[in-house]
């Protein structure tokens, strides 16, 4: 899977938000705010293909979580992105 290239993180009003950014246009009509962890995952995984295992590995390595918690959180994070239509399979 891959994060859709048109979505970027922008700092708006002090919040890290995901907005659709074209070459010449920013769409603020539907913005999604992420917490710091989500932002870190997003930055690590954007502009490349990744798997659930990649997300699990980042959570384990960067946050010292167990395999079980990392797998659960990775699945939840990916599901959120799917719901918001931010990733392509």
């Amino acid at each position: 899977m891959r994060i859709k290239s048109e979505y970027k993180i922008r700092k708006i009003a002090g919040e890290n938000v995901i907005v659709a950014v074209g070459a010449t246009n920013v769409n603020t009509t539907s913005i999604i705010s992420f917490n710091a962890t989500s932002v870190e995952l997003w930055n690590a995984l954007s502009e490349r293909d990744f798997t659930v295992a990649d997300v699990v590995a980042i959570i384990k390595n960067d946050y010292g979580q167990s395999e079980e918690i990392a797998t659960r959180d990775a699945a939840a994070w990916i599901e959120k992105l799917r719901e918001a239509k931010l990733i392509e399979e």
Binding site: R10, I12, A13, T24, T28, I32, S33, F34, K80, E83
Partner: protein, 157 residues
């Protein structure tokens, strides 16, 4: 560790600071319409608009413009210049007008994005037709408003 997505409400002034920054970078910016003062041309929470940066010198009468007024950002129609001040009115307002300095102009509406995904671009026939309709509603609204005020005064007596 929480990975929850959350909904946020951003203060208007802070939001528009960010919009201005993006416009200064040469980007156009889509925003959701808030408020009733431009109805029926633009409806609260229904239409979105695409903003492009513009200077006061480039404005044409009838343009729908984002400008700063009394410390707030407002999206109203441009009606001309008087004694160096730009005159704006909301299509949905009967009598209120705003006057600002040319430096307070931020952007012009270049496109209306309707909820079904259809768009109305600035300067097209559809745009002009929509503008005429909205201004006609405004023209009718003003005498109705004045008549209501007169009736109210008469009743009070």
């Amino acid at each position: 560790m929480s990975l929850d997505r959350k909904q946020i409400t951003i203060d208007n002034d802070i939001f528009f600071q960010s919009v201005e920054e993006m416009l200064e970078q040469g980007l156009s910016v889509d925003i959701k319409v808030k408020g009733f003062s431009m109805r029926p041309f633009l409806r609260d929470g229904i239409e979105s608009v695409r903003l492009v940066r513009i200077s006061a010198e480039e404005l044409k009468r009838g343009d729908v413009v984002l400008f700063r007024h009394n410390g707030r950002h407002t999206l109203h129609r441009y009606f001309g210049i008087r004694e160096g001040k730009l005159i704006f009115k909301g299509d949905g307002n009967c009598c209120l007008t705003e006057q600002t300095e040319p430096a307070e102009v931020v952007a012009r509406v270049a496109r209306i994005i309707h909820p079904d995904g259809m768009v109305t671009d600035y300067g097209t026939k559809a745009w002009r037709r929509k503008s005429r309709h909205s201004l006609m509603c405004k023209a009718l609204r003003t005498p109705i408003f004045i008549a209501k005020q007169i009736v109210k005064r008469v009743i009070r007596r």
